[in-house]
């Protein structure tokens, strides 16, 4: 068996961007993902916020990579065709006690190197966000705060890495690691093997377990669940900034933010878990509504289209773990918030260190560009007609709520990283994400997956594993 240069364990945003950064060198890289698609964990279900950087303690890795990552985000999103918007963040305070907190955040932000921070009064605040709740008196305004589609970034980064020669193994749950003379032999739960000179642990919630396979036990991963409510695009313009509240004695608040796709997202709650879970608890809805109402009034909760939860890994050190463990094993663990913001800066750091260790030269053939997932929507009518003339499938609408064509669904199945599940198609195209929540288009996407992937009806899944859509058999 050929030994590759680097095996990245985990196809979340950090793993995918790391693979992409590694391909900027002559480094042979494979990403091993336990689930059936990338972005299966926290990268799929988080707030999608590009933080300005005033939250992290001065001098922490979080502070460093947050500010660096924030500055890099617009560029990588442009290269990868991922929607990104610098919509600005507001941390709102109610009364003198909370306003004092704003001063602390302002000072910390300045020390972290966050540009353009300012504290604004209620009048200015109302100009920025007309739906501010009555009790809100002031806010910290961070114009560099932004929003991005977290799974869109992960999928695009992985796709671009693959287009540049990286390989992706889905359904590869690393079960054992064995040191060899030139690196590590990794074996999956189903018996597949990969040999690599260097291993990067980007396993998110599974990072502590993965570390243990190499004999590393110097950090502990905890799980914190965040629950969200997502509102219809009709409610998307309710707020234009990402609105946070100052942490108070009543607990950490939630955020209210538009998403890059035009919805309104409200959450997350914060639930400590022993066992991995993405269930939404019954009290979550009331909690989210109450905390959101501290900041904004008349939120149109009647327009909720779905609710969901994401499980985030955090480290007992409460900072990122970015360090070498056993020989040739690098751990990128505990990448909690602001992990998404920091992801590219982290990936660059890892790739730089690995390239040095491997003595790898720069890959001059690397192309950083990937077609936008919304490329068709961005065209003029004449251009769209030219596309449809070449391939009529782009004229055939499958998802009526999000106006996704058959051609785009086929692209999602055919392009890197290929979608093999209904959720895979949904995350790549938005088919099924609209107001009908896939009621109309699901059976049609289902059949396209059968046709394109040569699957039988009972083999198609929602998101891999045993998430079968049809379990009652054929008539």
């Amino acid at each position: 068996m050929k030994t590759i240069d680097v095996a990245v364990i985990g196809g979340g945003v950090v793993g995918a961007l790391t693979a992409r950064e590694l391909r900027k060198y002559h480094i042979d890289v494979a990403v091993l993902e336990a689930a059936d698609d990338v972005a299966a964990g926290a990268s799929r279900a988080n707030s999608g916020i590009v933080h300005a950087g005033f939250d992290a303690p001065v001098g922490s890795l979080k502070a460093k990579y947050n500010v660096l990552g924030n500055a890099l985000m617009a560029g990588v999103c442009a290269e990868l065709g991922v929607p990104f918007s610098r919509n600005g963040s507001l941390v709102v305070a109610r009364g003198a006690e909370e306003e004092a907190q704003l001063q602390v955040l302002l000072e910390r932000g300045r020390q972290n190197g966050v540009p353009d921070l300012e504290i604004i009064g209620r009048d200015r605040l109302l100009e920025l966000e007309p739906h501010m709740a009555d009790g809100v008196t002031a806010a910290l305004h961070a114009p560099t705060g932004g929003i991005v589609c977290p799974y869109g970034l992960t999928i695009a980064a992985m796709g671009n890495a693959m287009d540049n020669g990286a390989r992706l193994f889905t359904g590869f749950e690393v079960a054992s690691a064995q040191q060899t003379k030139d690196g590590w032999l990794l074996r999956s739960a189903t018996g597949q093997e990969i040999a690599a000179r260097i291993v990067v642990n980007c396993a998110g919630a599974g990072a502590e377990y993965v570390a243990s396979l190499f004999g590393d036990a110097f950090f502990h991963i905890g799980l914190r669940r965040g629950e969200y409510m997502l509102l219809d695009r009709a409610a998307g313009d309710f707020a234009s900034h990402t609105v946070f509240s100052v942490p108070t004695k009543a607990g950490k608040g939630v955020l209210v933010t538009p998403t890059v796709d035009g919805n309104l997202l409200i959450g997350p709650t914060s639930v400590e878990d022993e066992v991995y879970s993405t269930a939404v608890r019954r009290p979550a809805f009331g909690e989210i509504k109450e905390k959101a109402s501290w900041m904004l009034r008349d939120i149109p909760f009647g327009q909720v289209i779905t609710s969901f939860a994401g499980e985030r890994a955090y480290c007992d050190r409460h900072d990122f773990i970015l360090e070498w463990g056993k020989e040739n094993v690098f751990h990128a663990a505990g990448i909690e918030s602001p992990g998404l913001t920091s992801s590219l800066a982290i990936a660059r750091e890892i790739a730089g260190q690995l390239a040095k260790r491997l003595g790898a030269a720069e890959n001059k053939d690397f192309s950083p560009f990937r077609r936008s997932m919304h490329w068709l929507k961005e065209l003029s009518e004449a251009e769209k007609n030219a596309v449809i003339a070449r391939d009529p499938a782009y004229g055939r609408i499958v998802c009526r709520c999000e106006e996704v064509s058959l051609g785009e669904i086929r692209d999602a199945i055919r392009q890197n990283p290929p979608a093999r599940t209904l959720d895979g198609v949904k995350l790549r195209t938005r088919a099924g994400m609209g107001r009908c929540q896939s009621g109309f288009c699901q059976p049609n996407v289902f059949h396209e997956l059968m046709k394109e992937c040569g699957l039988r009806a009972e083999e198609v899944t929602k998101n891999g594993g045993n998430s079968y859509i049809i379990t009652g058999g054929e008539l």
Binding site: P443, N444, H447, E474, L475
Partner: protein, 121 residues
């Protein structure tokens, strides 16, 4: 003996009361004669139209029993419907099985079907 039924003959859904004393059957609550007939059948031998679909070559063909079958025979009828396979063109109303319930009730197609047609979505 007195029994209550909701009439299924039309969307009105009349609340029917049937009184039987062994010899005579008396129906009240019906808006029209169909309700009386329905209630009388319900106390003697309830019957239903069965609708389902049959697998064609490339798509499902909707079907129904032409006339009612005994309620107790519904699952036997379903078993026979499931066993049917059609690989020819079919016209709306065409008989696919002349006797689906063993009592002479035919099964007919409720849509036209061409062998080559896809699922029509």
């Amino acid at each position: 003996m007195e029994r209550q039924f909701v009439c299924i003959e039309c969307p009105r859904g009349c609340a029917l009361t049937v009184t039987t004393d062994g010899k005579t059957v008396n129906v009240t609550g019906n808006f029209c004669p169909r309700g009386k007939k329905y209630a009388e059948a319900e106390v003697s031998c309830p019957r239903r139209v069965v609708t389902s679909s049959v697998r064609g070559m490339s798509a499902m063909i909707p079907v129904k029993t032409r006339g009612e079958v005994k309620k107790e025979n519904i699952f036997a009828v379903m078993k026979r419907i499931r066993a049917l396979r059609i690989n020819r063109d079919v016209a709306l109303g065409e008989v696919l099985d002349p006797d689906i319930d063993g009592e002479g009730t035919p099964l007919i197609a409720t849509a036209q079907y061409h062998r080559e047609q896809t699922d029509g979505q």
